[in-house]
Symmetry: D2
């Protein structure tokens, strides 16, 4: 069985494990107040080119989403999100359990637009009964989205403008951030995210860490007392250094990469240097393999639920083919398209082997032709 | 200015005020443990023909909805409701503030079907990631709905069957219950509601009381400790007798009614006796006036957003006409239909005067014809 | 049975009922946006001498406490209160159900001191693990307290100073406010409360209204969006005018009073004019009768759990005496003092008849002497 | 700087790291549904001698406490705990943020008694205003407590009896469970805990794992839908296998131990086999070093805040001595005892080196004598 069902089937990049082993018996303060967390935060601030940002390390995505959102909203305020957004669909009501309504917006491809946000905001403030309705105060988007798509820089700028005009916080879920930044069609930088959002996070769990999400908070209102929230929500890891250490490792220059490392000295402000990091090199690896698989499926003339260039692929395949694939591969079932076809999801990841993709491509072809 | 914008513009039926004045200086225990509350509860149990039902009195609808729902659900459970349902749209996220997600179902006319509930339930339990999603555990419907429609007995039976099969609680919001029971096309009795639902309430605020909703709980699981929830949510009125007294009054035989009172002796099991109560006579009055207004609008060939026979009327009228009507009448704006037409809502109530309706009909005609 | 067990055994002062009857069939906007609410708010602002204060009307005390506190705090913040405070003891965890911890402080007489607040605040900010603990952000006091005691102006000033120094909100529960302001030993004015606190409320339920609490918010941060919270917590009365009308009535000059009405013209800034209101005259009546009862118990040499001059009296009486009293009177049991004595509570109120107090005094003497 | 301030200063026992490295590139299902989690759960069930117990793996203690408690209680119910309990003091109101009040009971040594629980329960049900108060429904104790003490089997049996009589759930926080089970004066087995409690957990974070707590649920009511709660509260680790793998490793027989391994074949029912596990051998190591340090402090005639035989030591030392110790050692400051003395906490752990303890003992003597 080869698993393409998600991007967290394996452990961590070997360099992360090596560091954990090397530092294992060091004594450090707990709860993220150790040297490794401080160093990793500094590194992230430098790559974001925002020395005033707060950086915190949490264990997982749902935990991060609920902690950020509850720290940002008063009880009567809600968060606008795509109807496909993780917080709306796949967190067992974690946001509502903190008292806040998710306000879903229709979405075909996992994205929402500035126009939709503006419309929802205007609909609220112009409604006679506005006080009888949840007040939109935050916009949640995922980069890439749950459907693998990414926002263009222009789209993010428009969203950011609308949010700032209307005093809405913009929160970007970056559980798969690297796979978005590394996508062939991406024009957004880490610095752009820091400038355009109020809070976002850099996913480690799906990109080479055992676990871990690095939250970057740029809006001063949201920075205040954030550690209280991490603790209250159960997200403050006793041995916080495990997080700092892994992010520090991921944000170092990768030892091997396709292209030679960038020669300039200014590591903090140079996007090319960021591209040299282990984090980005692992993402490039996954995206490249996804492109390879995607191309093969395109060539076989299968349609896609949605098009993207990140590590998630959503082909629409015959059920008979899926039945045969299931014998050797695991993948996610998305939804029925018609009586004979279903949309599924294949994921590549930092850990995917090119041989596995080649085998899948071969089997797809063989199975399809028989 | 004549108000048709809602059904709570006036105070209470004079008989209620009279009773409050007569008993004003009596000393009674507080918090709903007085004689009037006990008597009113007995009367309601008798009309429901369910001697094991628990009856509690609360002040308003949102308070009742949030108290019932929070008392019924564990943290990971949600409540299925029409996307037009009051709890989804007009309670400032009260249910979410208690930690529970409202799970909206599409609805054209304010109603949801047994098939929709079954589909939502099956979609949950068959989903691979079911534990990552909110578990549906309750179904909330309004009778009449927020769009004035009512469920037939058959529809309620189907909903009840599906709910029991799937261990879902069925909760009926009866903020306008009488207007539904009194509708010309209704075939549902109070007894049916007690049998088919697990908890429902009988609205007083919109039907002749200063305020008050009588919650009838028939499911033993939901009966347990309910008064703790009333207190915790701020709904336990110190002078609970104000509620008992008004419901006791509303459920007495009306002094005057169109038809002569029913002659049979068995007040508890006889639907006709229930029809003789002040509560139902006030509802019949409102529904009759609504029918009159509705007929006039029909005759003028205006379409309706939705058809019903209860006290809420949703015509689609030209904006130019609405502009003229606004000079003399208040009504609710529902939504824009096209560039020149809007859907609005007129409400009649227990307190509406026939002259007011006649005047509106006349003005509608005049304005429309000019 | 004559009830001295609480101060909400009867309905409302007859003038309130008269007004409700007179205005019953008027049509008004709902949800507290009617003329009566506006007028009552203006009147209260004038008596508070604070034209920038927001005034809202809610139905009951627990509802008011939970709404104010949840509107004021972020999730990690708690509210300091006396261990005897209503929010700590008698609200079924309403504050915790909104997500906030009540942080109890020891109290012998229902009061807490500025020094206690300062100590608790300093203990928090100097603790190494402060982020692992609830952050104190609000101070809740009752005036009068649950034990009938009142704060002196000096004590309130000290509390206010400490709160402002430490950015803590000061919230005063005035469910029995009039009985405190009318107490023989009181030196605090309504204006003082508005100046010294950030939010407080004026209780109507226990002082001549059918129900109702008038919340006065002076701190701008707490004013923002407060009506959303009223709605979300189920406290927005459909017929809000019932509240406005009653408070307007209570704050008019009483028709009869012991002393002649104050002759000066400046109703807003003159404490003596406030004393002429029905609200204060009713409170003076209750406090006077409480003093009479208290004096009689003193003369019989019974000790008291705590001394005060408001409408609550906490004598420590022999159980044998209590057994006899119970045949004719109801009162609250506070707690066992020793094997033969218990502390109880007698309440007088706006509705207490002097004959009832005289009868109780006589029976106390007779029963005690036998 | 040598750290004795807590028992989570280092990473994990080397065997845990070795296993993580060995299995790193295996593909497994996520969210705790992998083979390692299943095996670890089976092993724990076997040692508990309860084949019907549910076993779940979470990341940290606060997360576990809030998840278990929120899954167990309805909104009006609270949890009795020692006033020193972790949930009352050091979780930033995590339990209240889930809507539940912690009901603290006085405690000198971190423990509460069956008599205290019975008294609190009776006080609730016999109170006239019981519905106005939080209903006690769960009892939370820590084994060992936050002060290092442990309950005897008899004390646990009494607590269990009282809880079952009164339908209260008994929840045991075992964040330091091994250090309690390994204590020289302990007479409680893992099997006892499974039998006497309704839910308890086995702490890994402080005892040789990078992180991880194994929750054992024996009460069927609490088993239902527990995984929904883990997900909702943000505690469902994507790579759940990290938890299963570590617990599986910790519950294998240790490779080296003081005494020879137990020869009997029945690993599941034999407490001596449990004693042979790495988990218990690490705990015995820590407790032995704690005893050594404790004896030395006793010999120097310093008093203790509380006596125990687990890995936490609470001596009362002169501030002058503490000042000197701080140059070389870190420890927790508990509280001031008098103007010249403070209580502090030293922790040993699975990772503590005997040389470090010897050095501290030597420095204590030297510093004290000068």
């Amino acid at each position: 069985m080869i698993r393409f069902n998600c991007d967290y089937n394996e452990g961590a990049h070997e360099k992360n494990l090596k560091r954990l082993c090397e530092t294992n018996m060091e004594q450090t303060p707990g709860y993220g107040e150790d040297l490794y967390c401080r160093q990793a935060a500094d590194t992230i601030r430098a790559f974001c080119q925002d020395s005033a940002a707060d950086v915190h390390f949490l264990v997982g995505g749902t935990q991060t989403n609920l902690t950020v959102i509850d720290a940002s909203l008063r009880s009567h305020q809600g968060v606008l999100a795509a109807e496909t957004g993780h917080i709306e669909v796949h967190e067992t009501g974690a946001i509502e359990a903190c008292g806040h309504k998710v306000l879903p917006l229709p979405s075909e491809n996992g994205k929402i637009s500035a126009a939709q946000v503006e419309e929802a905001y205007q609909a609220h403030i112009t409604n006679e009964a506005f006080e009888h309705m949840v007040q939109p105060k935050m916009v949640y988007i995922s980069f890439p989205t749950e459907l693998g798509t990414i926002y263009t820089k222009k789209e993010l700028e428009d969203l950011s403008d609308i949010c700032r005009k209307n005093h809405l916080y913009l929160f970007i879920d970056g559980a798969r951030l690297g796979y978005g930044l590394a996508a062939a069609d991406n024009d957004v930088t880490l610095h752009d995210l820091a400038v355009l959002s109020d809070v976002f996070y850099i996913g480690g769990t799906k990109q080479g860490a055992l676990f871990g999400e690095a939250v970057v908070i740029t809006h001063p209102d949201l920075q205040q007392d954030f550690r209280y929230f991490i603790k209250q929500k159960g997200g403050m890891l006793a041995k916080g250094r495990l997080l700092g250490l892994q992010f520090q490792t991921l944000f170092e220059a990768a030892e091997s990469k396709a292209d030679s490392a960038h020669p300039c000295q200014n590591t903090s402000s140079c996007p090319d240097h960021f591209r040299d990091t282990l984090y980005m090199q692992l993402a490039l690896h996954a995206d490249k393999l996804a492109d390879k698989l995607r191309d093969a499926i395109h060539q076989a003339d299968y349609p896609f639920l949605v098009e993207s260039r990140t590590n998630q692929i959503f082909p629409i395949l015959p059920d008979t083919l899926l039945e045969r694939l299931r014998e050797k591969y695991s993948f996610s079932y998305e939804r029925r398209i018609d009586s004979k076809h279903s949309a599924i999801r294949f994921c590549t990841s930092w850990a995917t082997k090119e041989e596995a993709v080649d085998k899948l491509i071969k089997d797809l072809k063989t199975a399809a032709w028989n």
